[in-house]
């Protein structure tokens, strides 16, 4: 399944495009909370860029993004998101209430940063899980 489609043309184009896709994806994630976009769409684009690398470069791509990187990414993304929810819990608010006055931040800015961090963590989560799904499929699911 991981046969490398090794035409020179694809290598150079892929190597050139992937960073651009990722930058655009980061833009979408970071501007998600007040304009169209957000964690889901950004995460999917990031995953798409990695899958493009996997398809075009094959084995080389495992160097920077190892085989179960997807699972680890998804795991950390979900954990951070849960932790973001726990912070207000420890401070007496209800779960996921990131609009709570932190020590120095007024409620509005806390809310702003809260939703921003949420978007970033969701981006990580979606990115990791889609990459994990692709890796599972790509390895042919041998026992």
């Amino acid at each position: 399944m991981t046969s490398v489609y090794d035409s020179l043309f694809l290598h150079t184009v892929a190597r050139a495009i992937v960073p651009i896709i990722q930058v655009f994806a980061f833009y979408i994630i970071t501007h998600g909370h007040y304009s169209p976009g957000g964690g889901f769409q950004g995460g999917v684009m990031l995953a798409a860029s990695i899958i493009l690398l996997r398809i075009s470069l094959g084995e080389e791509s495992y160097g920077r993004f190892p085989r179960n990187a997807g699972i680890v990414l998804a795991g950390t993304g979900a954990l951070c998101f849960a932790f973001l929810g726990f912070v207000p819990l420890f401070l007496g608010g209800s779960f996921m209430d990131y609009g709570l006055e932190l020590f120095w931040l007024p409620s509005a800015t806390a809310h702003y940063w809260g939703i921003f961090l949420a978007e970033v963590f969701i981006g990580l989560l979606v990115w990791g899980s889609l990459m994990a799904i692709y890796d599972a499929l790509a390895t042919g699911g041998e026992e």
Partner: protein
């Protein structure tokens, strides 16, 4: 009389048609992958139903913009859209699991055709 029945509700009829196609695909098709495709059609029909429900004539997409102000009928109802977003993620997860199951089935039975798989299962049982 018949026409206004269709005019007013053609999207819902279209959605009902999609639902039927999805269920048909899931139930009747022998190839497992086609069943998964049928399932996704079925799920997409449901998402369309949510979106269709949220439509207000003459309203813009539910993203706040200064010139439209904050009149509620200026925007479409945002809640179904958000629900559909979550439902799509659930749909992705289900399809992901379904396809990885198919992969294991293909590896063990060498085919995705339901009849031949059942045959092999009966032989080995």
């Amino acid at each position: 009389m018949i026409t206004d029945f269709f005019l007013g509700r053609y999207p819902f009829l279209f959605i009902a048609l999609l639902l039927v196609i999805g269920v048909y695909g899931m139930m009747m098709k022998r190839n497992f992958l086609k069943k998964v495709i049928g399932m996704t059609i079925f799920q997409t029909a449901i998402y369309l139903f949510f979106i269709q429900g949220a439509k207000k004539t003459g309203a813009s997409i539910p993203v706040y913009s200064v010139d439209l102000g904050s009149a509620s009928d200026a925007y479409m109802n945002p809640l179904p859209h958000v629900l559909v977003l979550t439902a799509i993620v659930v749909g992705v997860a289900i399809t992901g699991v379904a396809i990885s199951l198919l992969l294991v089935i293909y590896r063990r039975f060498g085919t995705l055709d339901e009849a031949r798989i059942l045959e092999q299962m009966r032989e080995s049982a």
